[in-house]
Symmetry: C2
Subunit: 580 residues, 2 copies
Amino acid sequence: MSVLRVAGAQLPNAVGDLSGNRERALDAMRWAETVGADVLLLPELALTGYPLEDLTHRLDFVEAAKGALQALAAEAGAVTTIVGTIDTVPPRKSWDTRPREIANAAALLCDGEIRGIYHKVLLPTYGVFDEARNFAPGTEPGAVWRIGATLAGVCVCEDIWSSDGPPEAQASAGAQVLLVLNASLFYRAKPERRLALAGSVAQRNGLPLVYVNCVGGQGELVFDGGSLVLDRTGEPRFRVDQFEPTRFCVDVEVATPRPVSSSARTVHARIGPERSALPAPPSPPQLDELEQVWRALVMGTRDFARRAGRDAAVLGLSGGIDAAVTAAIAADALGPERVLGVAMPTARSPARDLTDARRLAERLGIGFEVVAMDPIMSALGGALAPLLEGRPAGEVRHDLLARMRGATLLATSEALGQLALASGNKTELSIGSATLHGDMAGDFAPVKDCPKTLLYRLARHRNARDAAIPEEILSKPPSALLDEGANRPPYDVLDPIVERYVEDGKGFEEIVCAGLDPAVVRGVLQLIDDAEPQRRLIPPGVKVSDRAFGKDLRMPISNAWRPFSAEEARLVPRGEPDPP
Amino acid sequence: MSVLRVAGAQLPNAVGDLSGNRERALDAMRWAETVGADVLLLPELALTGYPLEDLTHRLDFVEAAKGALQALAAEAGAVTTIVGTIDTVPPRKSWDTRPREIANAAALLCDGEIRGIYHKVLLPTYGVFDEARNFAPGTEPGAVWRIGATLAGVCVCEDIWSSDGPPEAQASAGAQVLLVLNASLFYRAKPERRLALAGSVAQRNGLPLVYVNCVGGQGELVFDGGSLVLDRTGEPRFRVDQFEPTRFCVDVEVATPRPVSSSARTVHARIGPERSALPAPPSPPQLDELEQVWRALVMGTRDFARRAGRDAAVLGLSGGIDAAVTAAIAADALGPERVLGVAMPTARSPARDLTDARRLAERLGIGFEVVAMDPIMSALGGALAPLLEGRPAGEVRHDLLARMRGATLLATSEALGQLALASGNKTELSIGSATLHGDMAGDFAPVKDCPKTLLYRLARHRNARDAAIPEEILSKPPSALLDEGANRPPYDVLDPIVERYVEDGKGFEEIVCAGLDPAVVRGVLQLIDDAEPQRRLIPPGVKVSDRAFGKDLRMPISNAWRPFSAEEARLVPRGEPDPP
């Protein structure tokens, strides 16, 4: 049984940071030489960062990336380094009339040279992915690479998510091992799906598989690492930490040589000494799902701030659960000394809300300030009175107050040069009860993809560490429920509907089949559809579900298609009296 | 010479409005029977609206659309109707691992039945288009259709934008005429490009071509109509009005019969009487470019309001050019009686700005209110003083004032149930001098794709009608220039750089080659790159350029890639003193 010693570097994902990425790749290359690896595997687009989006159209960037690859190749030694980057290819039209000249590539570096380049064949163009927009598809799915005594297949991410794609072509071309570069993003069910998928690819093709992922937040996305090594039966032999840059080196027993097709290229022909496989190091313990989500929220917030050039944040502290969880995320992401909580009470605000907000700030160790809203509201109310004559005062006042709080927060963050964090959650955003420019005002909304019931679970999870979120905040009734009262279902009814409709893409019939009340479901689906225009104006936030609002879900703004009539979609009252 | 009488209906584009679209199609079908047409051509996705985006994933919608097509087919008589809609196809994986089951289709209806369906082959996936995300590609580019004595090729939009695509396949399969369904969007250079393209397709294939487009705004896009009929030499024989739903009927001399491939399908086999071609009706006069842009802005704003369920709008009137043009667009789009202008002066605002704003409102006939900002600002200043201690008062005040104006406007619009219009322009948005939540606060920003110099031209163009925009507004120096003073170039230097970099996608070298000062260009490009995070939070607006900010330009948020060092990118001072 032949052994390939494969080193992997789970590098940070930094879009556009060519010099930083090159340095980090080079460090890994030097380390791989010291551990006697045969191959060093780096993530998809490790040199350029992922996703590049329309940076692929910037010729200056493309040239700089090619220069960075040349420079990296010049430093390559005996270890074959496989690094993700972009490559230029002859203009190619595929699904439309626009030629693409850039490929998503894996370059094989050795002995100071670029010895080969593989071009990603399958280009994901669904969910948050737009790769068919930016890349030309590879045309050689069955390419295999001779690295000393071993014939290796190289795939990039989506390439292995088909049941009849590059891994199958490479297996039949004689590959003995599959080396897979990834930029695989996190959502709640993802780590298990990834493991099952990689297992089935290895098992189906009878080949061991090394899967290297990157880590870090980029825009709304978080890449969670969790690199994998599987044997030829599909059993995991080694799993790497999530949410941390790290390196690993594992001896992989490659499949016995098979007949080799003409598509094999030689990276180098040095046959090393026979060696027996050392056992894989022990894998770190798996994080439970809530901890994974928490780390994704923290990493996504930290890296967004960094990319936007901000290192501190300000947010409103209402004394409610949304703001409390957002504050705890910010404290973990930036350090409590770099977070400022601002309470913005009126004379009518319950005193306990201010107490709870202050206590939260104290326990988290973040800054705390109080801005009394009454003088601002009276001034504004006086000024707007002629315009709003005849409008119900309470309704106007509620909107105005939320907006003035949002505006106060934004003005403060701008003056202080800090990031403003919005605290709106996915449930409110779904049904249209988030206030645009109110609780949705900010540069970034960490929990916008977290339904309300998940926020409670996250709060209790975070509290297991140091009980920073006061129990009073967890036990008081949510204010949105009080405000809107009888005509909306409670969160434990809402969230399963939101989850099925938005995240799972199920329709009315399927949702009702799951045993939910048709009248309530109809009403909630209508609210979700009606809130689409609002969702165009919300800040980015961390994706933690299979489908987040944003790039994942691209709905046209149109009130013309509604599956239910207004009559059909009337929410069933919950039978409780309106609050006074 | 054989003659095909082709009727075309340039229908409104209404996404999701299945019943309205079906009614309008049916009206056109009845009309086509009365004019003795052989064929009635409707636009791309006429039955469903365009673009559908992820509505294609909604099974309830897909089923309803198929039902609407069946119902329409049942009404079809002797005239062959070709209507754009969606169709379900066997699941097909193409460029990634996700199967698509929906095709962008052209259905051929006749004698109460669906007699054939063509599936669009080329799926645009660039600029604002995401069709590879949502559709399966057609697999029969060379299908041709026997309609009585004539063999016709049917194409959908992008299908004809290749030099070796479905038109070429259909010509070699025996087509005598090309019938093209389109949802072709407007931008400034588009009508000329469209004409040149259609001409070259007709001429290259030696076939007459009928090109039918839809009209109307959808989200950021405007479809401008301007349907076309060209003869086999590529010469235009008839051009239809832009920006208006309309119908036409033209006798087309089809090419002489050619050898027919096996891919021909029969829609019907009735051979009508020989007839000689009637001359085409006279084409309406061409609109000049500024009038085209004006109508696009008006149509885009009107239809956005309608889709968002609003019929009136409120906007801030600063006395400046941006607000003046936005107000005029709103008045033309919604009717002056449905537009409210709000001036929000402080004691320090120049008196002439208020005078100019009032005069503008009077001349446009829109509502006008004044909200004095000083009481609000003092209340806010007092409340925020402890937070902002030590910050330069002027700088903070400027941001706060812009934001409070934005917040006031948003609160007013919400309370009145109206659309809030933002007035920021493309120049400011490019270089980062638009104020988020300030002049960029609103539900819709009509002129966000218009550079400042274009706004002046548009204002003078609109004034040729009734001089509604006071000359004082056109002649005063722009306030942004006064505020930022010496460290930024004037608009007539900025705009050509913005246009080349953002709209034409040119790089530094190419821009400098055009004769512009390298130091200034470097500084402006840096400002544009740095402002990317701000552009995530701006409302939608009307696309009138080849590349608008929004879906057209998808840049990652990252401060890591900058082609210039901060030192290199320093703007060259203009040699004028800072304003006091």
